[in-house]
Amino acid sequence: MSTYLSKRLIYMFLILFAASLLIFCLYALTPGDFISGNIKLTPERKAELRDIYGLNKPLLERYGIWMSNAFRGDFGFSLAQQKPVLQLFNEYIWNSFLLAVVSTFLTWVIAVIVGVISAYKQYSWFDTLVMVAIFAAMSIPSFFIGLFLIKILAVDLKWLPPGGMLTTGSNATGIAYLKEVIHHMTLPVVVMTLLGVGSLTRYFRSNMIDVIKQDYIRTARAKGLTERKVLFTHALRNALLPAITLVGFELPALFGGSLIIEKIFNWPGIGQLYMQSFGLRDYPLLMGFTMFIAILTVLGTLISDILYHVADPRVRLQ
């Protein structure tokens, strides 16, 4: 286990190193930067600013500076917002996390319940309906469903606010603040749940179908256990177990925000921050964000592999 872990960590490190190089080159080679986009500046001032931000140094040197700072936990300074990138992340990430955690929770609850029922009643009309719904959920263009629901529920019916986290100019505190946030997050959470629930329901359904066919389920029934007990204690546990490997893959989604949903709903999360900075070419922030997601992805894969081994010790880690 420890040799496996150390090997894995070294590989992770190398991959992230290569990723950082690629990310840096991609952003650095993109023509135009934050300063050239600002038409108010004179050429002299531009040169001066480039000098201050170190943008006129050779590419390799800039990469070296970026990387060595990143190792010390410093991802640079956002040019547009004039704040350290990590501080900005800290300000925005928890809003993203809030959306992600609620929608992930709902997704899993719905997926488990619907998956179990439709597996138990395989080929019934309910199951067919669920299958069609699963395909529908998997085929929705995320930005379109967001716009569509805003149009219907917020613009036409005025049930829910069209976007943002708080009503503009609101300074509610305590319970009123909480209520306002919940009111605003309903729509994005519904959309995110809808987008995730399809594939997960399908996963639980097929897991459950496999488990129900096992001998120990027949034994449990033969013992005279109630169907409820067979289904929920004997079958469901075994169907749920492989799903813990998915936890790792959720990691980037939990903390990385959602570029599209946050943009559409104007949610002040990290994805929205990225989209804003993208237009401004605020490279330190863009690189920091992309690198951050890459780290989460690699970590998530590692966690999944380890959990896979925990769930099924027959799977050897090598």
Binding site: P31, S139, F143, F144, R202
Partner: protein, 308 residues
């Protein structure tokens, strides 16, 4: 010489069984029993026919700017209304469908081609080839694909790529982020296939590498590839629409479903003129859901082991 035994087997088969039977025919027969999959297939075909042939019957294909007919709600002459330049929205949705479907189809084919070729090489040769190919794939899988696509999109805009060419570059971009996952899967299949008895036989026969790869190994994963390819078209159409919606994919005046929904970024169009952006959205939805349902039916038939 080598073809004789196969000829004999085929000849015998046709003699014994009244109905010609092959994997292809069997699959079609099984597939045609799956009503859901058949309806998915029908919808996909209808969509293609509508987009590629439909505009020929439309009187509005000239894209002429018609000041008298600006922003009209749907009515008898314009079933889905008209846009800010007086163009017929229905015709534009169909023309956009041509582009969206073509981009989806072409980028799928390209990523399946690259992915299966590289995956097969990695899985077959192992060693250093495998290391190089799979490490590149790992790297690309580590970097989130949406920011990657956004950067490429921004590059295209910076380099002032003519809008006519952007469509082709968007295809390349989508297959660039699409191939690593495919390569990984094909490699896994290859690793297990190359240890089978029939491959030992191929080695004993002293076949060349190319022959072993393309005549003996790859045909075994074709059913799997067909399934993945079908499902990938839907994914590619979705990605293209996201990119075009954010103005980083195919740009107007070339219409795609994604950049037509861009109308929703305009407050008035969004609130007052839903006919501009809802039809392309539903076209994406209908196409992708039909492709996914059909692809799933295909999977049941062609790759029953991998049902997930």
């Amino acid at each position: 010489m080598i073809t004789t035994p196969t000829k004999l087997v085929n000849a015998k088969r046709t003699k014994d069984s009244p109905v010609k039977s092959s994997l292809f025919r069997q699959s079609i027969r099984k597939l045609s029993k799956n009503k859901l999959a058949v309806s998915g297939f029908v919808v996909v075909i209808l969509m293609f026919v509508a987009c590629f042939i439909g505009p020929l019957f439309s009187p509005y294909t000239d894209n002429k700017i018609n000041m008298a007919m600006m922003n009209k709600a749907p009515h008898l002459k314009h079933w889905l209304g008209t846009d800010a330049l007086g163009r017929d929205v229905l015709t534009r949705v169909l023309l956009a469908g041509r582009i969206s479907l073509t981009v989806g189809l072409a980028s799928m084919m390209l990523s399946v081609f690259i992915g299966s070729l590289l995956g097969a090489l990695a899985g077959y040769y192992r060693g250093i080839v495998d290391q190089i190919i799979m490490r590149i794939a790992d790297l690309l899988l580590t970097i989130p694909s949406l920011p990657l696509l956004f950067i490429f999109g921004a590059l295209l805009s910076e380099w002032k790529i003519p809008t006519d060419y952007r469509m082709y570059i968007v295809m390349l971009m989508l297959s660039f982020v699409g191939w690593p996952g495919l390569a990984r899967m094909v490699r896994g299949q290859m690793l297990s296939l190359r240890e089978r008895e029939f491959m030992q036989a191929a080695v004993v026969l002293g076949l060349r590498d190319r022959r072993k790869l393309f005549n003996h190994l790859l045909p075994n994963i074709v059913p799997l590839l067909i399934v993945i390819a079908t499902l990938n078209i839907g994914g590619a159409i979705l990605s293209e629409s996201v990119l075009s919606f954010f103005g980083l994919g195919v740009m107007p005046p070339t219409p795609t479903w994604g950049n037509m929904i861009d109308a929703a970024n305009n407050m008035i169009d969004f609130q007052e003129r839903p006919w501009l952006w809802i039809p392309p959205g539903f076209s994406i939805f209908a196409t992708v859901i039909a492709i996914n349902i059909f692809g799933d039916g295909l999977r049941d038939v062609l790759d029953p082991k991998q049902k997930r």
